[in-house]
Symmetry: C2
Subunit: 185 residues, 2 copies
């Protein structure tokens, strides 16, 4: 997990989920076995100040597993109050889908006991996992079988009118006809 | 806008979007005209400490417009760094879809000049709005015409295994067959 300064955003934990698109089999999830409770979970950690959601996910997956990847979409948000390790704040946990560029695992042995590419259907049926991991595994299986457009929130950059800056917005992909319509359609 | 204590979550601004499901016409959006820049925008504001996303949206819509509503879904997330009014932190702006229970507007005159139920297709074509409002209007028009299941992230409560507490998770609705599958399907 990345070092955390006092300025870090305690609300913004990012889960990284990797897609091994170049393989036909379902061995495309990195899973970490949680040290204390013997549970499979996805890699992830706290964001740095000013860091984009996708950048945190890519960085944390690399630090924890040695896998290089790129951000593809946002999948889910969890809000939890009185979360331990959230510095007295509520926790916002954001789950991303990534595409890997390397496949050789070199995992952080301080943070987990095992790290493997796991068959998604094996993850769905294992009991050694958390409710949220099991839920996201099912969501990913749905996306894998029926199209990731069913589950993805895609990212786009838009201008902030009052500051001249840009921000990133995430929502379900809008068909082109709606993006370009003038309201007279 | 709600009073903000020093403990509030600066990242969690909520936009409220209301659905007037009992009406066949498209007059189902509350829009506020922004005071300084003469722009139409959705009601919203900062969350209180420990407040759920949907509760913030419902509270802010009531405070700003007098409309009573309930949370239906999460639609979009915006992440903006160096956002003014975010107390030196990055800003997470979460956009919700609400269902109204009352329809008579009684708006906060300290915060806006005008407040009206506006035809969604009028909002899509107006130039007096921000890029994000225009984008969300198009997203809503897509959902209204082709089914809100195309754009909604629905909410569910799940148990946190290590603390015994519960949290709320938001993602695209999962078909029942995937919720109940054992991995052997």
């Amino acid at each position: 997990m990345a070092a955390l300064s006092s300025e870090s955003f305690t609300f913004n934990q990012i889960k990284g989920i990797s897609e091994k698109a170049s393989f036909c089999i379902l061995l495309y999830l990195i899973c970490l076995q949680f040290k204390l409770k013997n549970m499979w979970k996805f890699p992830g950690g706290l964001s740095e100040p000013g860091e984009d959601i996708g950048d945190t996910a890519v960085r944390e997956v690399f630090e924890e597993t040695g896998i290089k990847s790129e951000f593809r979409s946002l999948l889910s948000i969890r809000q939890q109050h009185t979360h331990p390790g959230a510095f007295g704040k509520s926790d916002m946990y954001i789950i991303c889908r990534l595409k890997p560029y390397s496949f050789t695992i070199n995992f952080c042995q301080h943070e987990c006991l095992r790290c493997e590419w796991m068959d998604l259907s094996d993850l769905v049926k294992t009991e050694n996992t958390t409710p949220i991991t099991s839920r996201v595994a099912r969501l990913l299986l749905y996306g894998y079988r029926e199209g990731f457009d069913k589950i993805d929130l895609t990212m786009e950059e838009l201008p902030a009118v009052y500051t001249g800056l840009f921000y990133k917005i995430y929502h379900k992909e809008l068909p082109d006809s709606y993006k370009t319509m003038t309201g007279m359609d």
